[in-house]
């Protein structure tokens, strides 16, 4: 069964590549025949950026309030031909340990001081668009098993609230935020239902569970995912979907099977804006009867007020994550919680916003924490 799965994955990739190569040739012929006016513009690189600055404070014991520089994000789009494009997203994140020297983990030798900002290639993939029904890409993605994760990426200005829901927090481990491998995607009109699909094969989680296997997989079992969602014509603004993700996690000497089932319903207009997502992460330890289910969900509602030039947008979000005590893979994590967020977004211009947010959070066996945050986020 395992060998059969691998063969199917490899066959799918070969098939995709074959179709790509055939169509790249036919696309070139098309350009030659029709003298496509943009042909001289390839490669055509466009860059957009996102940034944010924050202030936060809480009544949690030991928390230090203050300003914080957010991520500096650059997004690259480069058309290589009418049907082949490269997409990249790079972030620079301020480091708390900037300037401090340390010791090598293995050798104990001194290592150079940590830089002020941590660079990361968040996304980087090449995609071939055969048609609306069939697109193939290879590289590093945000895993398309969660709506928020692929709707806003690292562009905080795009999202209504200051932060992401805890279940898709960057650096978090509840859902594998990144995915290294290949994706096939497309959209089918299907009588106005507009069914979209993503099917992917990749490395899955690395030895550090919060990270994708960028430099290679740490086992011989590929992760795969299926994501389906619909955007029906008759309810313009509505998106409903669900996804399934399967991986084998190696945390030597133990191995775990991981199944993630997720669903979302989103009303994307701003009066009102409604986002609800649910995910359940199942881990089963191989060679053992031990199995655990970790559910999480959030519901966010917002409304762009029609007065004052429609610049104000209040919002509310409730989040829930429960990690059972029997859970091994997430052991030591701190994202078991319920929280409520109330906030207000004000759009200073069409490309910059100020957000103010109050958060009330409760974690098991700990006192309730109240906090507030301010943020300005923008695109450039």
């Amino acid at each position: 069964m395992k060998r059969c799965g691998k063969q199917v994955c490899v066959l799918l990739l070969i098939l995709s590549l074959t179709i790509c190569i055939q169509d790249i040739h036919s696309a070139s012929a098309y350009i030659g025949d029709r003298t496509w006016p943009q042909v001289s513009e390839y490669p055509s690189l466009h860059i957009i950026g996102f940034g944010d600055f924050n202030y936060s404070d809480t009544d949690a014991r030991g928390y230090k309030s203050g300003f914080k520089e957010g991520q500096f994000v650059l997004h690259f789009t480069s058309a290589l031909s009418p049907k082949v494009n490269f997409y990249g997203e790079v972030s620079l994140t301020a480091r708390a340990d900037a300037g401090t020297a340390g010791k090598g983990l293995q050798t104990g030798e001194s290592v150079p001081p940590a830089p002020g900002f941590n660079p990361e290639v968040e996304r980087g993939f090449i995609r071939f668009d055969q048609s609306d029904y069939f697109k193939v890409s290879f590289g590093r993605f945000h895993t398309p098993i969660n709506w928020w994760n692929t709707a806003f990426h690292h562009g905080l200005w795009l999202q209504t609230s200051i932060g992401r829901p805890e279940m898709v927090q960057f650096g978090g481990m509840f859902i594998p935020v990144h995915f290294v491998g290949g994706l096939v995607e497309g959209a089918l009109p299907t009588h106005g239902l507009n069914v979209n699909y993503n099917v992917g094969v990749g490395n899955g989680r690395g030895s550090v569970v919060s990270r994708a296997g960028d430099a290679g997989d740490n086992n011989n079992d590929r992760a795969w995912l299926i994501n389906l969602f619909t955007k029906p014509d008759h309810f313009f603004g509505l998106q409903v979907g669900g996804s399934l993700y399967r991986d084998r996690i190696t945390l030597a000497p133990k191995e775990f099977d991981e199944w993630i089932a997720a669903g979302h319903i989103v009303w994307q207009k701003e009066n009102p804006e409604l986002i609800a997502e649910y995910a359940n992460v199942n881990h089963h330890e191989l060679g053992s009867s031990s199995s655990s289910n970790s559910p999480a969900y959030y519901i966010q509602a917002a409304y762009r007020l029609p007065w004052f030039e429609a610049l104000w947008k209040p919002y509310y979000r409730f989040e829930y994550i429960r990690i059972p005590r029997t859970e091994v893979v997430f052991k030591g994590s701190d994202f078991d919680r319920t929280s409520s967020i109330v906030g207000l977004r004000y759009d200073i211009t069409q490309f910059a916003a100020i957000k103010a947010e109050y958060r009330n959070q409760h974690r098991p066996d700990q006192p309730r924490v109240n906090g507030y945050s301010l943020q300005t986020s923008f695109t450039f």
Binding site: D23, S26, A27, Y30, R34, W36, P37, S44, H46, I48, F50, H75, T77, A79, P82, K83, N85, Y87, R123, F125, R127, D129, Q130, S131, D132, T150, A151, F152, H153, G155, L158, A187, P189, G192, N194, K231, D233, H234, F236, G237, K269, E270, A310, D347, Q350, F351, T379
Partner: protein
């Protein structure tokens, strides 16, 4: 009667001059007054689209007419009435929402580029005529010969049930 003749001649002359200067609408102009026509390159393999299909094209959700003919979207610059009609009826967005929508669309890597901006109906029709697969939205009274005007929900500009006005 003889005294009225000069007055009659005056009004006739005024009417003829007015017609020459374009002061009076032609029959075609009157019929399409305010309608925004969906114009496409003659090669586009479509004649009649539903409003939902037009919306999918404008949202960038449909990017190909056929597998070898990509859609090139041409949209009027802000302030133009054609843009207002398209934003109100098809996108159902404000100007700010429209801009954020396309920034997000490119950022999500769902499209490589956003719509191309055109600054006049003449520029729009000129580019539609020269770029295969292109589509734009222009004042129905200013559509030159040689371009294909699509029906929307089975109706052409000037018809009572035409939705884009």
């Amino acid at each position: 009667m003889g005294r009225l003749k000069p007055l009659f001649e005056f009004w006739i002359s005024l009417f003829v001059v007015g017609l020459c200067l374009g002061m009076f609408p032609s029959e075609a102009d009157a019929a399409t007054n305010g309608d925004v026509a969906v114009v496409v390159h003659p090669d586009v393999p479509a004649d009649d689209l539903s409003l939902a299909e037009v919306r999918r094209l404008l949202l960038g959700d449909r990017q190909f007419w056929s597998y070898d003919l990509p859609v090139t979207l041409l949209i009027r610059a802000p302030i133009a009435r054609e843009r207002d009609v398209v934003l109100k009826i098809i996108y159902q967005m404000s100007e700010a929402q429209f801009r954020q929508y396309w920034i997000a669309k490119v950022f999500r890597a769902e499209v490589a580029v956003g719509p191309k901006i055109v600054y006049s109906n003449e520029m729009a029709t000129g580019l539609v005529g020269s770029i295969p697969g292109s589509i734009s939205f222009v004042d129905a009274a200013q559509v030159p010969n040689g371009l294909k005007v699509l029906k929307v929900d089975g109706h052409l500009p000037g018809e009572k049930e035409y939705p884009l006005r």
